[in-house]
Amino acid sequence: MICRSNILRIAWLVVRLAVGGVLVYAAWTKLREPWMLFAISIDAYHVLPQWAVTLVARTLPWVELMVGLLLLAGRWMRISTVAASALLTLFFTLMVRSYARGEGIDCGCFGPGEAISPITLLRDGLLLGGSLLLTAKAFWKPRKPGPSAIENVAQSSYRPA
């Protein structure tokens, strides 16, 4: 019989592998092509000066790759989930802003050629949601009744004559 905790454990694993896998795939699609393509995608958002566009285009795919691999491996979960959530929040905010302005630019998520659309927003929104859940889980500690708690209960219930 599969108990509830096992289902939850599998669900967490699926979310972690999905977010990690997408980040690794996104990094790979950028690293296999000339970095200038990603630079052109970043520049289209009109949020960075050109020197920063170049810097981000050359480094961000490596950050995505590292964070994705850490998530896939399930290591350094607090750092990797915070980094993934920060990256995805940034991407999602910029995409929503650009879509709301009707700029009609490429999202640059997986290389050139994919315009920002409700589908890309839904996809990135779901990823962000998953990443935020993973972050919350990484920092959440279940309360367990420790020895001091048991002692308190015992003391409060003991009434010497």
């Binding site: 630079a39 052109i40 520049d43 289209a44 009609g104 630019i105 050139p112």
Partner: protein
């Protein structure tokens, strides 16, 4: 028989500029009624022509991609393709982009096209716009764009070997230069 995967499936040589053997091919999917296409045509294209097409590093191919929401765009594209048959594609394209606001407002596309043609050419072009071959060429360009996932204009399809890189919008020229320099090595 050798099959060159890099070669676009169909090229109207009257709508091309430069050396077909250039290391990079740039297919420009454009809509004559689109303001961003006008911006690219007026600001970026002369630099691409000067630095890459004239120097033999890139081969430029014009492709029509009139958008549905632009009511006169298909008519303008048809006139441009007809003008290509009399060797005046670029001149007509220049006229259409320069006077975009006028013919867009009054719908008098041919009046703008005529400014780039001699009276004899005007007659030929007016006959050619009814030619099924011309109409079909516009439709084929659109179909090619759709097959290559072109979904907005302008889109620069940068082709090197078997690789195709679609760049939507008007890219920053210095970044585009970096890309073209890298690909044309």
């Amino acid at each position: 028989m050798a099959l060159c995967l890099a070669a676009p499936s169909r090229i109207d040589t009257a709508k091309t500029v430069g050396n077909p053997a250039a290391p990079v091919t740039i297919e420009l999917f454009s809509d004559f009624q689109c303001p961003a296409c006008r911006g690219l045509h007026m600001s970026l294209l002369p630099s691409i022509m000067r630095d890459y097409v004239a120097t033999g590093k890139a081969y430029l191919v014009y492709k029509e991609f009139p958008l549905m929401q632009h009511t006169h765009a298909r008519e303008a594209a048809t006139y441009a393709v007809a003008a290509a048959r009399v060797g005046k594609y670029e001149q007509v394209a220049d006229a259409l982009f320069q006077n975009q606001q006028h013919w867009e407002a009054d719908g008098k596309v041919f009046e703008t096209v005529a400014t780039a043609l001699t009276p004899a050419e005007q007659k030929k072009v007016q006959a050619l716009v009814k030619d099924p071959g011309v109409l079909n060429e516009v439709a084929q360009d659109v179909q090619e764009g759709l097959e290559q996932s072109v979904n907005q204009t302008p889109t620069l399809m940068i082709i090197r070997g078997t690789k195709k890189y679609p760049l939507a919008g008007v890219p920053n020229y210095s970044l585009l230069q970096a890309l073209l320099n890298d690909l044309s090595k």
